[in-house]
Symmetry: C2
Subunit: 349 residues, 2 copies
DNA sequence: GCCTCCGATTGAAAGGTTTCAAGTTCGAGC
DNA sequence: GCTCGAACTTGAAACCTTTCAATCGGAGGC
């Protein structure tokens, strides 16, 4: 259903007023108008009032391009997000935003949606726009454009990923440790046949979380083969359902009694499918997720998960970015936060 | 845990090369460099190669401000989102993004986070940046700044809200109808005492969805009082849990047998709390949500919900925006999509 | 009444790109 | 060898704001 409105858009004639027009209307010089805008204290109250009136009447809108051209750098940050539909990243973004807000900066969020091409497009645009700095959760932390951008003077901070060489600041969470505490929790509960649900391999975090899981099993004296590998193509709810089907389809003797998922989306999909196929959670299958997104706690069987300090991640990254942008003695820093297990019903004994 | 890296950032000396430097290095004029950038076909292959080499060597980065200053308008759209953590809006954003992508435009996402002040800040910034246009889900559709911005020549399209006066294009979904089909579904299943969970009142959609619910009840011959009102302070999971506590606490004789929630976040919170308090879903309480976010289907008791064409919403809004930006005969249009019920286990008989 | 000083205001330059009319070069055709 | 036109290339203007040295006007001190 659609309705057209015929009313003539009552656009005023002139395209848009600039400082010049305002100056003319107020009977002052360009410089004075600029002063009203940028250093109001240097202008007498009377003049200021006159200029402000003129601005209002003409509907003056500052031209940021011209301002920037002179100023050199904008007061905007940008976060190039990996996946806007994953609540984990939107929480990180909130942390960034609140930190940016405190410094009177605006935040533009760009969504690469897991596409390296899109990520490059945005990085280039942002660089061209001379933003203060860019926070990015890269599709591939080795992307050379990241260095390129930083080298040309736009600070870049890597969020939730790490890199061997310290050419950027980065903020991440210890994923190996996270995998370890998840599996230790399951071992404590008496589970011996544990599945690791995750993939693809190329994602560093999947590798790290699995490595942690294996380390926990080894420490416990079990053979690593005790880890049942359930590979997924992506970290999505749909893939989690697929994993659920495969696990439910295993013969009881071989079926793991617990599953550790590389993230909560997988875990939620797994949980749903298991319940649908008649497996009881946690009795037949205990489940641990990762990220502790809001929906993990809100599931009908609340999900045990490994919590990452998402907001903190964003805040700290922003602070590092601003330091890099403003402090000439800036030293790159690799911050590693510690994850924490949140036990809920999905692993209750 | 933190690690400092002492390596000297090997910044090159010169701050940044401009067209002028490239021209000098390549031994051509400014105009030619600009042509290489904007109309490569007008430049001989040999010259182009030389210029491109110079650009690479100098690490030339186009200055978007200067370009814009001349061009007048950028090739960027922006979406001012109401709540980045609500999956509904991130899906809308994806629709916008894919439409923008097809037109070779970049999309910047800004999160007003339900704050009118923040919304105004972003609208002003975007206007100053001369973006092609702004899509916005406003905190308050009557916000005068929306008109202001549009009047000064930056097209504004309202997403997922409507307005009486047709001063903008808008794209929304028929919320009254949505409320109606949700409750009709419950009536069909034999429910007679139905709760409406939602609030606050000031949100237009809450009003509309309730109005639809009431209309359905009236049509069914029941008295409107059959609608049990459960007010919430916001449309969040936490508020949904609160509602669950209140409903579970009602004496069985007064307790509704079904609940229609103003959105899925409420419904998920409600579902969780009910399960935790021993109410069976759908036997003791059937639940219908609204939005059909991915997590509704992924809940352990999959949620019946009213689906809105989220991606479509974003796509259509973007098309309208681009028409307004490029077509001089543009007519404002109010598009209203039709919602659709998706029945799942939470209302299974 | 003159001089100094100070705050308020001015005017011109600068910032990097695009555009476009005007200029140059080169080769073909006569 | 000359003319003509096509294909390229050039140089200057324009975009709009900010900055800063210079100027102005008036108040206070002598």
């Amino acid at each position: 259903m659609t309705r057209k409105s015929g009313d003539v858009s009552s656009f005023s004639a002139a395209r848009s007023a600039g400082v010049k027009d305002v100056a003319a209307a107020a009977g002052v010089s360009l410089g004075t108008v600029s002063n009203v805008l940028n250093r109001p204290d240097r202008v007498s109250a009377r003049t200021r009032a006159r200029v402000e009136k003129a601005m209002a009447e003409l509907g003056f809108v500052r031209n940021e391009s011209a301002r920037l051209l002179r100023a050199g750098r904008s007061s905007t940050l940008a976060y190039v997000m990996l996946d806007a539909t994953n609540p984990f990243f939107t929480d990180v973004a909130q942390g960034i935003e609140s930190a940016a807000d405190e410094h009177d900066l605006s935040l533009f969020i760009c969504n690469s949606d897991n596409s390296a091409a899109r990520e490059r497009k945005y990085l280039t645009r942002l660089q061209e726009q001379r933003v203060q700095g860019v926070l990015v959760t890269p599709v591939d932390p080795m992307e050379p454009l990241l260095d390129e951008v930083a080298r040309h003077g736009t600070p870049v901070v890597i969020v939730d990923r790490t890199r061997d060489k310290a050419t950027h600041c980065s903020v991440a969470v210890d994923d190996v440790l996270g995998g370890r505490i998840a599996v230790e929790h399951l071992l404590d509960l008496g589970h011996r046949r544990v599945a690791f649900v995750g993939g693809p391999e190329r994602i560093g975090q999947v590798r790290d979380r699995r490595a942690g899981a294996i380390a926990a099993l080894e420490d416990a004296g079990g053979d690593p083969p005790d880890l049942v590998e359930v590979r997924t193509e992506a970290l999505t709810v749909a893939e989690g359902r697929g994993a659920g089907e495969r696990i439910a389809g295993m013969p009881t003797s071989a079926r793991p009694t617990a599953a550790f998922c590389a993230n909560d989306l997988l875990a939620l999909g797994l949980l749903q499918k298991c319940v649908a196929l008649g497996l009881r959670v946690p009795d037949d299958l205990a489940i641990v997720g990762y990220d502790d997104i809001e929906f993990a706690a809100a599931a009908a069987v609340p999900l045990t998960s490994v919590r990452q300090p998402r907001r903190q991640l964003g805040r700290r990254a922003t602070e590092l970015l601003l330091d890099e942008a403003t402090n000439p003695d800036h030293q790159h820093e690799q911050v590693l936060f510690t994850p924490e297990l949140v036990a809920r019903a999905s692993t209750r004994r």
